[in-house]
Each structure stands twice: as structure tokens, then as C-alpha cells.
């Protein structure tokens, strides 16, 4: 493979793009769905193979990329480091699961739908791999555009407003980030061909050259963009509306993978570039995140719509991850790494169940559902496991991550941990409330027509369960994967 110059990064980024474009050409719905499924499985195969070659520099893209904008110093450099490998694996495994789980849904112009989904995958892969700031920004936006089209064409009744809000909000953040990128760019020392450069290593070296005041406002520019993407309180209001109105397959990608873009960007582009600013503002940000956790958990208790419920629960989890990142402790940041993967898998599982319920009963309102356990015991059991994984029951993958994140948070500040710990209780409250209202009790007339899920759907959910428990009992491979990256980032903070 080396001789051909093909590297994992190229395959992971550009193959979905090509596959997506092919999808636009295929007219038949079933054929395009099968092609999308096949393409995503091929991408998954590539990603799994890449897990076996962690040390190989060429295959993972560390050979210097070619210059595409020489005069301004931007080059096409992509590479897979440990964190990138973990997140590309998450992306690669999410898409086949999503396609398989939503295979029964019919869409108008399905070929366009699947094509856009694959384009989104390309953008996501690119974000996780890029080592050049301009390229990073390019892929960041590229992931957003198909999402806009997907939501606005195939979404719910209020899709136009929700998508508009989502797009403008996120885009504003991205523009702020662009300003930040260009500011930092102007401070980099250049190469032979250009005065400045967008290369990531140059960005890392900028920290020492910035005046402290400058570092502060640049930090906030970047952070606001990522805060909107993650999202954390109080920049979160686009999320419930968007998740509610978007087609469920898109929501799965948005909540499963796209929000991880925000967290990933903090680790790769924020923490190493502005270490002094991070240490200065960490208390504020952690306080915001912790408030957001409690706030979102409380609101989740009162949600009637299943999709909004899942959205608020997601905000609570992301809040914890963001807080743990800013503690800048090895144990906390490693916990975030594994939690990014776990949360992605778990939340996709939850969305799959919500989708199955909506398909069969036609409603997402918790108050109108009840007693599903009578009619669909298989679905109930799978949901209960996924819901418990969501609230970090031990032996599930989320527990390992949460335990480590809380340990890191405790090292940082005891009181934040105590308050954040309340979210453990609140999470149990809102999850069990939902489970009880929707699944237990008497089966009402709406539910009476339900049947249990098919074997194919059971298989998909079983895959998720296997991932939940394997990572929960033996998380070591994940830690080994990301150990180096985390150590590298954190060494910048040792004063």
C-alpha cells in the first residue's frame, strides 16, 4: 500500500465523497440504499484495518502533504494520530449502524439523501484527520452543509425554522473561529515559500509568541465556536429544535459524531494553542459546563417529546465531557476520550429505539405512549440496557469514562464534583421516568397495534450492546490508543 502512495487517511476521507457522488447518480431508491450501506461498510473495514497499524507513520499519513496554496502557506496535510483513529473509527462504525437501523424508512429522492449522508461522513473524517488549520476549517464547514440540506428537505414540520437557526448559529461560531484562525496564522513564523503557515505545528508554537491579552480574546473566539458546536450552556438552544425536526438518521449522525467534533477540536486546536488562557479561564468554563449539566438534566425531566428528551440528556453528558477536558488532568482527559466513543454509540442506540417507536406508533410524545413492554419485550430489554448505559451503570462503557472524568474533576475541585455528581441522580430520575411511562404500565390503545422488532433490527441493537459491554469490561485498548496524544497535549501545561 505504501508503494501506491495510498494512505488510510486518503481512503477514509475521499472514499465516502466518491461514494456519495455515485449515490447521486443512482436513481433507484433500493439500489442507492444498498450502495450506501456497502460503501459505509467498506469505510468501516478500512478504519478497522487502520487500528492495527498504529505505529506506521506512512500509512497514517505523517508523510508531508502536498502544498495546495503555497503562497499563503496552507498545505494538504492529514494524519491519523491516536485520537483521530478513535474518532474515525466511531464515524466509520456509526454510519453502517445508522443505515442498517433506518433501512425501513423511505425517503423522497432517496439517492440524494444517502449521497448527502455520505458527504457528511467525508466532512467528518476530514475534520478528524486534518493537520492544517485552513483544511480543518474547510472540512468543518463541509460537514455542516449536507446537514443543512438533509434537515431542510427531509425534516419535520418546523424544519425550515429549526434548520435556519441551526445553520446561522453554528455558522456564526465558525466565522468567529475563522477570524481566530487568521489571527493566529498571522502570528506564525513561516516557511521558505510563505511568510506564515497554517500548519498545526506552527500553530502550536504560536503560544509563546502571543501577548497574554491577545491570547485571551483569541481563546474566546475559538472557544465560542466550539461551545456552540458541542453545545454547552448557554449556547445550546439550537440543539433540541434541530434534533427534533431533523430526520432521525441525520440526528443520529449529528448527536453521535458531530458534537464530538467540538470536543475533538478543543483537544487538538484549543488546549495546545492557548495553554495560558486555558489555565486562566478554566474555572469559568467548568462552572458553565457544570451548570449546564444540572440545568439540562432538570429540563429533561419535564420533556414530553422523546427526541427533545434525548437532546437534553445529550447536553448534560457533553457538559461533563467539556468540564473534564478543562481540568487538564491526564485521568480526566483520557476519560473524555473513551467517553466520546461510548457516548456516540450509546446515543445512537437510544435514537434507534426512538425511531423504532415512532415508526410503529406514529408519535413521539411520552404522555401518549405506555406499556410497550407488553407488545415489544425485545425492544424493551434492549432499550433498558441502552438507557442504563446512558446513565453510566458499571460494566457499561459509559461508566469507565464517567468514573475517570469525575476523578479528574475531583482532583481539580471538590465542590464542582459534588454539584456535578447531582447529575448522576437526576439522570437516573429522568431516564427511569421515561422508561416507566413509555414501556411499563398498561398498554394503551395507541400501543395496541405494536409488534416486536424484527430480527434484523435486533441484530443492529445487539451490535450496539456488544460494543457497550466490551468497552465497559475491557477498556484498555481505548486507553492505549489515545494515551500518546493526551500526554502530548498535557505536557504543554506543565509549568
Amino acid at each position: 500500500m505504501e508503494s501506491l502512495g495510498i494512505r488510510f487517511t486518503e481512503l477514509l476521507i475521499w472514499f465516502p465523497l466518491v461514494a456519495g457522488l455515485i449515490c447521486f447518480i443512482i436513481r433507484d431508491e433500493r439500489k442507492s440504499r444498498n450502495w450506501a450501506m456497502l460503501a459505509s461498510l467498506l469505510t468501516l473495514a478500512v478504519s478497522i484495518t487502520s487500528l492495527f497499524y498504529p505505529g506506521n507513520k506512512e500509512l497514517n499519513g505523517y508523510t508531508y502533504g502536498f502544498e495546495w496554496l503555497k503562497s499563503i502557506g496552507s498545505s494538504y496535510s492529514v494524519a491519523l494520530d491516536g485520537m483521530g483513529r478513535l474518532l474515525t473509527f466511531l464515524t466509520a462504525i456509526a454510519f453502517p449502524i445508522i443505515f442498517a437501523a433506518t433501512s425501513k424508512t423511505t425517503y423522497k429522492n432517496a439517492n440524494a439523501f444517502y449521497g448527502l449522508m455520505l458527504l457528511m461522513q467525508c466532512g467528518l473524517m476530514g475534520v478528524f484527520c486534518s493537520m492544517d488549520a485552513l483544511l480543518f476549517y474547510f472540512f468543518w464547514e463541509l460537514a455542516l452543509i449536507p446537514a443543512y440540506f438533509l434537515c431542510s428537505r427531509w425534516g419535520g414540520e418546523r424544519r425550515i425554522q429549526a434548520t435556519f437557526k441551526f445553520f446561522v448559529y453554528t455558522f456564526t461560531g465558525s466565522l468567529l473561529m475563522l477570524v481566530g484562525i487568521i489571527s493566529v496564522y498571522l502570528h506564525t513564523s513561516g516557511t521558505a515559500s510563505s511568510e506564515h503557515t497554517f500548519n498545526i505545528n506552527a500553530f502550536y508554537a504560536v503560544a509563546n509568541m502571543l501577548k497574554p491579552g491577545e491570547q485571551n480574546w483569541l481563546f474566546w473566539l475559538f472557544f465560542i465556536a466550539f461551545a456552540i458546536k458541542m453545545p454547552i450552556f448557554p449556547f445550546h438552544t439550537w440543539q433540541p429544535d434541530t434534533y427534533e425536526q431533523a430526520p432521525t438518521a441525520t440526528t443520529m449522525v449529528l448527536s453521535g459524531v458531530m458534537v464530538k467534533m467540538g470536543l475533538f477540536a478543543v483537544v487538538r486546536w484549543l488546549l495546545p494553542v492557548f495553554p495560558q488562557a486555558v489555565l486562566k479561564f478554566d474555572n469559568i468554563i467548568i462552572a458553565l459546563s457544570v451548570i449546564g449539566m444540572i440545568y439540562a438534566s432538570l429540563i429533561a425531566i419535564k420533556q414530553d417529546d422523546l427526541k427533545r428528551f434525548a437532546a437534553y440528556s445529550s447536553i448534560a453528558h457533553i457538559g461533563l465531557m467539556c468540564a473534564a477536558l478543562f481540568t487538564v488532568k491526564q485521568v480526566g482527559v483520557q476519560g473524555v476520550m473513551i467517553q466520546m466513543f461510548s457516548h456516540g454509540i450509546n446515543i445512537i442506540g437510544l435514537w434507534i429505539v426512538i425511531d423504532l417507536i415512532e415508526k410503529q406508533t406514529g408519535t413521539r410524545k411520552i404522555s401518549m405512549l405506555g406499556g410497550i413492554a407488553h407488545k415489544a419485550p425485545g425492544l424493551t430489554i434492549l432499550l433498558v440496557v441502552i438507557a442504563l448505559a446512558n446513565i453510566a451503570l458499571p460494566l457499561t462503557n459509559a461508566f469507565v469514562g464517567e468514573f475517570m472524568m469525575f476523578t479528574g474533576l475531583f482532583k481539580f475541585n471538590v465542590w464542582f464534583t459534588a454539584i456535578a455528581g447531582l447529575s448522576i441522580i437526576l439522570a437516573a430520575v429522568y431516564t427511569l421516568n421515561m422508561v416507566q411511562k413509555v414501556f411499563y404500565g398498561e398498554a394503551n390503545s395507541l400501543v395496541a397495534g405494536m409488534t416486536d422488532i424484527s430480527m434484523g433490527q435486533k441484530m443492529v441493537l445487539a451490535t450496539i450492546l456488544i460494543l457497550i459491554f466490551v468497552a465497559g469490561v475491557y477498556p484498555k485498548p481505548f486507553f492505549d490508543m489515545t494515551n500518546e496524544v493526551v500526554t502530548n497535549v498535557l505536557t504543554r501545561f506543565i509549568k
Binding site: 491526564q330 485521568v331 413492554a373 458499571p394 476523578t407 475531583f410 427511569l432 411499563y440 475491557y474
Partner: protein, 633 residues
Amino acid sequence: MDVLKLVWLIPLLPLVGFLINGLARNYLSKAMAGLIGSGVIFISFLLSAWVFFSLKDGQAPIHYFDFINVASLKIGFDFQVDQLSSIFLLIITGVGFLIHVYSTSYMHDEEPKNFAKYFSFLNLFVFSMLLLVLGANYLIMFIGWEGVGLCSYLLIGFWFTNNNYNNAARKAFIMNRIGDLGFLLAIFWIANKLGSVDFHTVFANAPDPNKFSTFDITGITLLLFVGATGKSAQIPLYTWLPDAMAGPTPVSALIHAATMVTAGIYMIARSNILYTMAPVTQTVVAVVGLSTAILAATIALKQNDIKKVLAYSTVSQLGYMFLGLGVGAYTGAVFHVMTHAFFKALLFLGAGSVIHAMSGEQDIRNMGGLKKYMSVTHITFLLGCLAIAGMPPFSGFFSKDEILGAAFAKNPVFYIIGVAGAMMTAFYMFRLYAMTFLGEFRGTADQQHHLHESPKAMTIPLVILAILAVVGGWIGIPEIFVHGGHRLETYLAPIFAQSNALQERNEMAQSKEIMLMAISVVAALAALLYAWNKFSRYKKSTEEEKGLGKVLENKWYVDEIYDAIIVRPVNAIAKYLNNVFERKGIDGFVNGIGRAVNYSSRQVRLLQSGQVGTYVLMMVIGILVLFIVQLFL
């Protein structure tokens, strides 16, 4: 062959049973499901017995694989097999096996797939509990801890059609979680100080003032105790236990009488050195334990549901165990765990037998005179009542008196209140016994028609447990009666060696000890006889309770208080945040920006008036402005 190499089988077998019964529940017959479910527990019991007999001193933890190995934190998946864990292994697998066998008959009305589901949950529960007692560090213990919480949620809400049962299950889980938060904070604290949560490391470093200051130890032990109050139903987190009676009776027997609620005792007994080093926490533990014992006993005096009486009795007895831990009588507390497992499981299974015979009736005001119809159940139940009342030579006497003796040594007031509680225990237990088995039958004719002794699968476990309830105390005969008779203490000595070295041993005079025992026995006997007399002639009356009786019957209105000060405010806050803050506040702000942009663009659009003259005017003004600006800048 070294049985320690097979220790991992002990929890694994119930897990396998869970998987088989769970995944194949639609295909297994009831006989097969029951066989698999009980069989795996039986094999685990045999393995536990083997471990018990081949145990040597100073076992090192068995390391299976690295669980979390990151920078400062090293936690492995390790098991620790020593005297304390082997005792608990025997109790869990032994009593568990008897309850599984009992369940095969009690649950025979269920459909095959629910039957298999029931056994799979029971197996999962035993697996979690075994993990809890085998763990060599606090994290594995915590995994088992949450696991048993989960299983109790699943089993309490087993008949999920009834919303009340679901609410009870949810309440149990959430109250447990509140306690778990305390436990977790304690683990983080320990990890922060030491970088490890292994028992060996923690206990070796505990006396070192450089590693743990007094503030640290007190804080850690208090937080651990918060966890224990959640799991073992002490004040203030006990209200879930009586509600948990919604589950099938064998479940109540297993989880709430014999094993799960004793997890808290195990945890504190295991951490005994930490508690010995924190006298403040010890006092807190003793006071909370004693208060819970009394509070629960008072409530039990006026309950009319057979299971609720037993539930409050469990809470009360747990209070005694915590009292024992709080005064430093660690062996006594573990002893009481053991004897309590026997007689409480016996009582619950007996109650199940009665409910079964009464076609589901649970109100003791509608029972009576059952001894004619169910002799085995009657005799075993009586033996259980005698044991719990602390009558010699039954098991409860030895364990309870050991705790009371140690309590007296710490503080005579503890002893006096403890004896008062023992009197109440004897009273309400024999009220229960008399109203159920003695006197005239007060139920419907239909129920009377169905009264029969329970099948063998239910009565044989009752008999076995009764024998254990009678003789179980003889492994802990105090020094004054037989020299070297307290075999349990000798056995557990290595576990508590560190603590015992540190605390003073109050050796009481023999005569004093005998007098204390005599007082408590006589007091309890008096209460027993009074209750026997009063309630064997019980006549059903329709008058309602008044005054103090009403308060007791309504459990001191604690549930209502919790509802008012916690549940309602939280709901109100959530509602406020959802409707006002989120919709109008933040979302309003964001949407407001959108509206503002729209408004301003509408205003600006008015410039496009279409009047040519205005355009020209604008042009001229613009040129003038540019000109002037250019002149001055």
C-alpha cells in the same frame, strides 16, 4: 488443586445462568429454567464451601486484568479471597440457592418466558452481589454495588403492569443512587490521595498521617456511610425498602433480607480500619443505626401487611448491625448479618408460603388460626420469630447480645435504647405471629377453602433455614459460657486485627455481662408473652387508628415529608426552567436576535422608496460628506 484458580467461576456461573435464561427465555420450559437457575447457584455454593475450607491466611489479591491504568490511577480487575469474603460467599450462595428452589414453586403461576426472565434476574443479582464481596478494590465493589441496585429495580418492578410497583422500583433505584453519589465521592477522595483504591494499599496507608489526615479519614468514612445508608436502608434513605415489598416475596427474601441490604455492612466491615481511625464517624454510625432501629420498630408495631412488618423489621435489625459497627463490634455486626440472613429469609419465605395459601391476601387482620392448616410453615415461622426476638439458645440471641454488650461498653444509653428496641421487636414479631397463626380464622370462606400447606419445594427450604436459625448462633458462643466458643471471632480475627489493636477492649466483669444478657432476655420475653396473649384473641374491628397509632401506621409521615421538601420542589424547578427560562430566556434571546435583524432590515428597506429625487439627494449629500472628510483627514 488450588481452588483459588477457580474462584472466578463463582460469580461467572450465575452470569452464565443469567445469559442462558435471559436469551433463551422464549424456548425454555419452566422446569429447565428453574433447574439452570438453581443449579448454577448450587455449584457456586459448593465452590464457595471448598474455598471456605481451604482458606489460608494472608491471601494476596488475584489479579485478572488491568481495568483502568492511566497515569496516576491504577485499578485492576482483582478478587480478594479472605475470611470475610468467604463467609459472605457462603451466605449469598447458600441462602440464595434455597430461595431459588423456593421460587420454582412460588412462581409456578407465571408464563414460562416470565418464569425464565425471573430466574435470569435472580441470577444476575447473585452475580452482582458475588462481585461485590469478591472485589479487591473499591471500584469492583462499586460495580457489584450498582449491579445489585439495578437488579432490585428489575425485580421489584417485575410485574410491570402495575404502576405502583413501577414507582416503588424507581424509588428504590433513585434512593440507591443518592447513596451511590456519596460512595463515589469517597472513592474519588481515596484515589486522589493515594492513586489507588485497592484494599491492601488503602488499609496499609490508613494509619499514616502523611497520607490521610483526620479530616480526610472522617470525610471518606462519612461519605462511605452515606452510600451504606442508601443501600442498607438507614435514615434518611430507608423509605424505599418497605415500598420494595411490591416485588415477589422470594425477591424480598433474597434481596432485602439476606443479601443486598447487608452490602452496606460488608463495606464498612471491610473498611473497618478506616472507621476505627475516625471516632466521629463511628459515633454518627452508631447514632444513626440506633435511631433507625427504634424508628422502624415503632412503625412496625402498627403495620398490618405481613410483608411490611417484616420490611420494617429488616430496617430495624440493620440499624442494630450499624450500631454494632459504630461501637467497634465488627465481629458482632457480621455475626448478626449471618444470623439475620437465616431467620429473616426464613420469615419472608414463611410469609410467602402464607400469602400463597391465602390466595394472595397479605393483610394479617384477615388471617388467623392458620396453624391448623400449615403446620410446617407454622413451626418454622415460630422458630424464626423466637430467633429474631433474641431468645436463647436461638441464633438471634447470641448475635444481638454481642452487639448490645459492646454498646453498653461504649455508652450505657445505647444499651438501654437498644433493649427498648429489642422489646419492641419481640412485641411486633409475636403480634404478627399471633394474628397470623393463632386464634380464629378471619378471612373469607373462599380463602378458607383454599388453605393448604405449601408444596415440598417451598417447605424444605423453610425447614433448612429453620435449623440454621436455631443452631446458627452456636458458632459464636461468648467467652463466658464456653472458653474459645466464639469460633466466628477467631475465624475473622485477621480481618479486624488492625482495628482491634487500635481500640480499647473493654473487658467487662463476667457477672456484669451475664446481668446485661439477662435483662435484655427478660425484657424481650415479657414483651413476647404480652403480645402473644393480646393478639391470639384478636378480633377484627373496623375502627380506625387514632392519635399516636395513626402516626405510626402512617410511618411518621416521612414519605409525605420527603415528597414535600424534595420531590415537589425539584419538579417545580424543572418546570420553571423548562417553560420560563429555556423558552423565554435563552431561546427567546436567540430568537430575539433573529427578530431584531428582521426588524432592522425592514426599517432599512424603507430607504428604497422608489423616489428618484430622494436618490439624487442622497448622492449629493454623500459626495459632500466625502469631500469634507477628505479635506480634514
